[in-house]
Every structure is written in structure tokens, then in C-alpha cells.
């Protein structure tokens, strides 16, 4: 099954690295969407079917946390799986994110292996890929 994935990060280079890492990790991508901040991310979420959001925390205009808060207020968006990818290492912050519905947290810098492991956990796709 191919997944429509949205990456929200203000860094063009990070978005490119995440895209490359997803390819290396063997994630089956349907459509790949990019946004430079939470506001742009919400706009893409409103107009497209998204299976998974990978979002940074610190971004101009609207942070990843604000975006997650807005998603929680929308009946359809709150069902979309969100993984935060950020540099912050505070477990207190990670717990706060999970209480807001964030499914997992990946700390930068990351490897393709970590990305694959976490996405498999969140989307439950590991068995399917192993069977194919």
C-alpha cells in the first residue's frame, strides 16, 4: 500500500533529506507533499488525503505543536498520524506531544533505519512489506 506523506519543515534541505531517507527506507510513497510551516501544512491537509505527517517543531509562522493543536480540533485531520521530527531532546516535551495525539517522536539527526522502524510502528506496514 502506498502512503500519501506530508513533510512539514521550514528547511528545504531537511525536507529533501527526509524524502531521500523515506526512499532509502523502502517506504512506499504515493504522493509526497511538502510544507514550510504549520499553516501551509494545514492547508495541504485540508485539500488532500494524507496518511502520515512528519513535522518539525520550531518553524516560523506556525510551529509544529500549534499545527497539531489545530489538527486536533478538526474531525478528519485528528485521525491523521503525526510523527514529530525535531532536534529537541526533552522527554517532558515528548510526553507533552504524545498527550496531544502525536504518535511518535524522532530526534535529529536520524537514520533511514530509525525512520523505517518508527513508520512501521505507526502505520503497521512492516509485515506487509516483509510479505511482498
Amino acid at each position: 500500500m502506498a502512503y500519501n506523506i506530508l513533510v512539514v519543515d521550514d528547511s528545504v534541505i531537511v525536507r529533501a533529506v527526509i524524502k531521500k531517507t523515506l526512499d532509502l527506507a523502502g517506504i512506499d510513497i504515493g504522493e509526497f507533499f511538502e510544507a514550510g510551516n504549520g499553516k501551509e501544512g494545514l492547508s495541504i491537509l485540508r485539500d488532500n488525503w494524507i496518511d502520515l505527517v512528519l513535522a518539525d517543531i520550531n518553524m516560523p509562522e506556525m510551529t509544529g505543536i500549534e499545527m497539531v493543536d489545530r489538527m486536533a480540533q478538526n474531525g478528519l485531520m485528528k485521525t491523521v498520524s503525526v510523527i514529530m521530527i525535531s532536534t529537541e531532546g526533552s522527554q517532558t516535551r515528548v510526553e507533552e506531544l504524545k498527550s496531544k495525539g502525536v504518535r511518535a517522536y524522532i530526534r535529529k539527526p536520524f537514520t533511514p533505519e530509525i525512520i523505517r522502524e518508527v513508520i512501521d510502528q505507526v502505520l503497521g506496514a512492516g509485515d506487509e512489506r516483509n510479505d511482498s
Binding site: 521550514d10 528547511s11 528545504v12 534541505i13 531537511v14 529533501a16 533529506v17 531521500k20 520550531n58 518553524m59 516560523p60 525535531s86 532536534t87 529537541e88 531532546g89 526533552s90 522527554q91 517532558t92 516535551r93 507533552e96 530526534r107 535529529k108 539527526p109
Partner: protein, 158 residues
């Protein structure tokens, strides 16, 4: 500058360079860095706020930043757009700041990080940064680099 703050910053910066951009850095005597005669440097700043606050600054040649961007993307240097150079430096500053905070303050405290800023660094700016007692001279892939950190407030001992 407190020894732990300084040594941890050098350690974290070198580790992040290696992990993110496959580049290698080491501290060098400040006298070995150019005093002022140069062009094409970028200055990146990132601030943090929490139980204590402060900021990290990094000055790197823009050509080195372009090389770091190419390494990060696994691409040829010539194929990397100049704006990607600034983006690579911002990301290195961002990851360095997050890792440094965890190293010195542990995993319980929460900090808010600013969006990294970037600007062209003129000769006067380099001279000022180099003259600070707290700034650290580094060599990254044979290129001169300056980093600095300022901290206000006490870092908890636990």
C-alpha cells in the same frame, strides 16, 4: 566561559558535523584563523529559552556551507543551490543547540528554541566575533570557523 559549556559545545558541534554532513572539525588556536581579510562568510544564530537562556552563534565560509549542504544531500557541490548553503548551516546550528541543551541540562527540562537566523558576515563582524574571549576557533574540513555561546542564568547541576 565555563569549561563544561565550552567543551560540550565543541564536542557536540563536531559530532553533529560528522553525523549530519560527514565533515570533520577540531579546535585550533585562534591565532591560526584569519584576522579579517576574507569575504563570503555566513553567520548563523539560534537562541534558547527555558530554565536558563542563551544563544549560539556560528560563522562559516559560505563555500564550506555549500559543501556541507552537498554532503547532507549526497549530491555534487556544483548541483547545490547557494540558498541551500544557508539552509545547511541553519540545520547544523539547530541540531547542535538541541544536542548541547540535552548534554548540559538533561532530558527533563523543556527549552524553546528560536528559528535560526542567518546573515552575511562582513569583515568587521568576523573581527568582533574573533576578538571575543568566549568565541572558539575551529577548523572544519580545512576551513576557518568560529563558534560562540552565551548563557544567562544557572545551569542546574542535576
Amino acid at each position: 566561559m565555563n569549561g563544561t559549556i565550552r567543551e560540550t559545545l565543541i564536542d557536540v558541534f563536531c559530532r553533529v558535523l560528522e553525523q549530519v554532513a560527514f565533515a570533520f572539525g577540531e579546535e585550533t588556536p585562534k591565532e591560526e584563523l584569519p584576522a579579517a581579510e576574507f569575504s563570503g562568510y555566513l553567520l548563523c544564530g539560534i537562541a534558547f529559552r527555558g530554565p536558563f537562556e542563551g544563544a549560539i552563534e556560528m560563522a562559516l565560509p559560505s563555500e564550506l556551507c555549500r559543501e556541507l549542504a552537498a554532503n547532507t544531500l549526497g549530491a555534487e557541490r556544483e548541483s547545490v543551490a547557494p540558498e541551500m548553503a544557508a539552509d545547511a548551516l541553519k540545520e547544523i546550528a539547530n541540531v547542535t543547540c538541541g544536542q548541547w541543551l540535552t548534554n548540559v541540562a538533561g532530558e527533563k527540562l523543556v527549552f524553546d528554541l528560536s528559528v535560526p537566523t542567518i546573515e552575511d558576515l562582513g569583515s568587521a563582524g568576523w573581527k568582533e566575533l574573533r576578538s571575543r574571549a568566549s568565541s572558539i576557533a575551529m577548523v572544519v574540513d580545512d576551513a576557518p570557523v568560529l563558534i560562540d555561546i552565551s548563557v544567562q542564568g544557572d545551569i542546574p547541576s542535576d
